[in-house]
Symmetry: C5
Subunit: 87 residues, 5 copies
């Protein structure tokens, strides 16, 4: 997983049927000092994070596991809202 | 998922049987400001996007989930047409 | 998927049993202008492409889907021979 | 797998149900000389590694295999504590 | 798959149960000219390659397919020993 900040939203009327009703957040990946690192992504929010919150997301094929019992074609899913990072 | 712009098409007569009848789009990944970011890809269009449209695509192994009930060897599938990005 | 050019072959006598009888091609990934982009890979040819041909390959976990009914540990499979790229 | 050093922890109260009770470690990937290489990640610890320990982690979709019988949306799981690297 | 050279070993007493009895090799990925390219990895050897040998390995989720009937959390598995590369 990587840390990220929620920086926006994407609206898409025409989309894959399995994606209806889901929220698409624009996220900026962060390093452990919460500095931007790498390009922005569109992630499906499985947890209800608000804008400007620090979250962590799971990337790759296991991103779909954040939606048990469904078959969601996601490669980035927000799975937690970060309270604190200690290093 | 990542934002991308559809910039072309690929024709391939000889191809894996499971890929017959599908549309192969050349896409340029974009950042949230819709600026090009990263190399061009060939994506399978699951949604019917036209040239020059901004879309989002799912990469990696879950790209095949955009084709339920089929077994498509895809690592990049267009799953939505973007109406608006708000950041 | 990405475009690539077939630039060679790999011979390997000692290999995983599931890989016997398959052809291992050295490929150079290309951008949409057919210029080299990224490092060379070893891909399994599912389609019978010749040397110097432009192909597209599927990477990652879905590369194994190019071999239905088998369980091939492949992370790059050539699935189409490119006739034309239009952008 | 890659070598990494455990450099911290992440606290997240709001998270995907499947992630409850797991430990989220901040890790810095290392090369074989144990020098930092690449960006920091958040990994799920399947083995009980302490801070400052050198570990190896599995990334990508197979990270979930470190938790047999469960369906954990993880893309980075610590699966071993390194005693020695010989090169 | 990518070419790589076996450059060492990793010892890890504490590790995921599914990983017991396996050999962890440090590998340096190579391009088709057998020049180093990209960072070093820890790969599970499915084929019995010796140090200094040129091999090819499968990365990502399909690395686990090199161990049929088992559920190994591997993202890099050595699956062949290279006799010759022709380009």
């Amino acid at each position: 997983m990587r840390l990220a900040k929620v920086i926006g939203k994407v609206w898409a009327t025409a989309k894959d049927d399995s994606l209806r009703g889901l929220r698409f957040s624009v996220i900026q990946p962060l390093n452990y000092r919460r500095e931007p690192e790498g390009g922005t992504l569109v992630a499906i929010d499985a947890i209800g994070a608000g804008e400007d919150e620090t979250v962590f997301y799971v990337g790759g094929a296991d991103a779909t596991l954040a939606f048990p019992g469904r078959s969601i074609p996601s490669d980035a899913s927000i799975v937690g809202i970060v309270d604190r990072v200690h290093t």
